[in-house]
Amino acid sequence: MKPWTRIRRSALVARTVARLWLIYKVPVYTRRLLGRPALKGPELDPTHERAAKVVLATALAMRGVIIKSCQFIATRSDVFPPAFIEELKQLHDAVPAKPFAVVKETIEQELGRPIPEVFAALDEQPVAAASLAQVHLGRLHDGREVAVKVQYPDIEEIIQLDIRNMKRACRVYERFEPQPLPLMPLLNEMTKHIGFELDFLREADSADRVRELFKDDDGVKVPEIHREWSTRRVLVMEKVGGMKITDAAALKAAGIDPADVVQDLMAVWVRMIMGAGFFQADPHPGNLFVTKDRQLVLLDFGLSKELPEGFGLGIFELMFSMMTRSEAAMIRAFQELGFRTKTGDTSHFVQIARRMLDRSETGRFEGEFTEEMTDEMFDAVREDPLVAIPSDFVLVGRSFGMLSGIAHTLGARANVLQAMGGG
C-alpha cells in the first residue's frame, strides 16, 4: 500500500468521525442553549438517517472494511437504530466494480498462470460486485460453466489499517460519549468475522458442509467448488442460476406454487439451524435462486455460523414457551440461550417476549418470527441496557426475520414450528 493511500484513508475516517460528531452533538448543544429538552427515540430518526448517509458515503469511497462494517452494523439491529440500518442496507447493491485488469492480475497471481490456461472464457464484465470481492462468469476448458469470485487486491492490508483507524475513532468516541454504544467488543467480533470472510477456502469448507447436509435431498443445490482453482482469494465455483426467489410471477409462470417454495425454504433453514447447528446466516433474496424444477439454490457461505450444542433445542423451547405463554419456560429458554440480565432480574425476559407477542398479527405466537417481531425484540434489548443478548441469537433471529420477509413477499408464512414437522 502506498503511503499516501494510507494517509488518505486515515484522513477519511477522521473526517467522517468529525462529521458524525457534528450531526449528533450540535443539535444537542443548540437545544440546550435554547433551553429545549433533548430529542429522544423516534425523534432522532432524521438525525440517524443523516449520520448513516455520511457513513455510507465514506464507505463507498473506501470499500473494504468500512463497507463490511456497515454490513455488519446491518446485522446487529440489537445495537444500532433502525434508521441507521435502513440507509446502510443500500450497500448490498451500490458498490462499483473494479476494472478487469485488476481482476486479471489477482487471478493470475493467485493461480500462478495466465487466465487462458485455466479458463476457456471469462467475462470481463462482473455479474456482481460486493464489499470484498466481485464475481465474473466464465468457462473451464472441459466446458463446465463457472462463477469466479475474486477478492479485491490489497483488501487485507486495507482492512487492517481501517480496523486500526476505527478502533482509534472508537476510543475517542467512548471517551466523549457519556453513554457509549458498546462498539469496541463489536469491533473485535467484526474483525474476527471479516478474517473468516476473507478466507475463501473457509467459505468453500462451509459450502461443502451445507452441501453434505443436503446430499440426499435433490431439492437443494449448493454450487460445487472447483478446489484445484480455488485459493484464499479466488473462488471458482460451478455456475448456478434460476429465478429470483422473490419473483412470484416468474415462479407461477413456471408452474411453481410460491407457497411450496416457502415451505422448502423454511425446511432447509430449520434443518440447518435447529438440526445441524451450522447455518448460512445471510439468507437475503440475492443469495437464493429457484430452478424450473423447484430446486432451491443456496449461494454465499461467507457468513456461516456454527451454533453451540443445544442451541437449536433452546430456540425451539423459546418458541414453544411463547406459543403456550408459559412465562417460567420463557425465562428458562432465554437463559439456556445465553441471555443475561445485569441485575439477575429475569422479569426483563418476560417483558421482551410480551413485546414480541404484541407485534404478532394475531397477538399469539403460532411459530413465525416475523421481521416486526425480531425488530421489536432488538428494540427491546437496545432500550434495556440491563439485558445482554448472545450474538449467535442475533444472527439466528435476523435470519428468521429475513426468511419471514421473503415468505411475505410471496404471500405465505414462514412458520418454524410447522417446518419442523408440527403441522
Binding site: 443436503f214 440426499d216 435431498d217 435433490d218 431439492g219 406454487d257 411450496d260 415451505q263 422448502d264 425446511a267 430449520v270 434443518r271 435447529m274 438440526g275 445441524a276 447447528g277 423447484r294 450444542e309 443445544g310 437449536g312 433445542l313 425451539f316 414453544f320 406459543m323 403456550t324 405463554r325 408459559s326 412465562e327 417460567a328 403460532e366 411459530g367 414450528l417 410447522q418 419442523m420 414437522g421 408440527g422 403441522g423
Partner: protein, 356 residues
Amino acid sequence: MTSHAEPSLTFSEDELLGSRKYDEPLIAGGVRCHGGFDEDGRYHSPRTLHRTPAISAWQDQLLRSGHDVIEISRALMPPQYPNVEQAKLLLRHGVRDPMVRSLTIISIVEGFGAVIRDVRVPELAELIVEPIDGTALSHLRHGLFEAHARDEAGYEDEGGHKQMWEAARDLALEHPKIPGDVLMRLMGRRSRAPKRERPFPQLDEKLERMLAMMAQVLVIEVFAEGTFQWGIDVLSDPEVSAEPQAAGDMVRYIQSDESPHVEYLRTALSEVRARTLRTVDGKQIAGCKVVDGLLHDMLHNLTRNRPREQREDVRESMIAAMQDVANPTSLEEEYESLASAWTAPAQTGFEPSSAA
C-alpha cells in the same frame, strides 16, 4: 342443572375448558401440570368436567339416530421400535442415549399437538346440508380444539403432556443430558414436499384441510396408545428406571388424558360421515365418502412405508449407540434377536368400496 331425561348437547367454551376442583395438583419435575387428584388420591384429567359427558351425549345422539361411531382397528397399529425388551436391554447395558432421545422426541411431538388450535374452521353450517346444532362438530372451534391444544402443550404456567413426558424421562433416567441430535432425528429425512394433490378438490379447501387434519390426528392419537403402553412398561421396570412408580404413573396420567381426544375426533368425523357436504360447484357429496377416503389414505400411508423408514433410521442410531459397550457385537445380536415381526393388515377398514 343436569336433567336425567334430556342431557344437554350445547356447551359454552368455558364449560368445555372447565376442570373439577382438585384436592391436590399434579406436580411433575417441579412444574405444576394440568389435572390433579381427588381426596381418594385418584387422578382426574384436566378440562373433563363437562367435556367427557358432552362427548358421550353427542355419541349417544349419533347412535340413537342409527349411525355408527367409527372405529380404527388396533391391528393397524405399528409396533414400537425399539420394543419394550429391546429398550430394556439397552438400558441395562448403560446405553441410554436412544431412550433419552425417544422420550424427548415423544415429548416434542406431544407438544406439537397444540397446532390443532390453529386449524382454520370454515362456516360448517353453510357447507353441511343437514343441521349441526348440538354436535361435536359445532363445538370444535368453541372449546374442543382449544382443550386438546392445552392438554398436549400446556397452557401458561401449567404444564401439559410435553412437560409430563419430560418429567417421566427425568424421573426414570435421572435428568439425563439430551443428545444434541434430537431435533435432527425428529425431523427425519427430508425430501422435497411433493406437489400437493387435493384428494377432494370439489370441496371447500378449508373444509377439506380441516377434515384431513382431524383424520390424521385421530390416527396418531389411536396409534399413540402403543406408545403409552411401551412407556409404562419400560419406565416402571425397577431394573432400568430410577423411579419406577412415579415415572410409570406419569405416563398413565397422560394416557388417561388422551381418551377425550380420540373420542371427540371420532365423534365429529362420524357426524360428518352421517351427513352430506356441499361442493364448490353447487353439487353434493356423501360425508362418508370423504371421511372414509381420508382415513383410508392416512392409514395406508402410515402403515405401509413410514414404519419401515422410521425403523431403519432409528436402527442406525441404535447400532451406533451400542458401539461404546464392552462387547458391541454380542449386544447387537441379542438386540436383533428380540425384534418383533410385524406386517400391516391388508385392509384399513375404510376401503373406497366400503363407502356407500
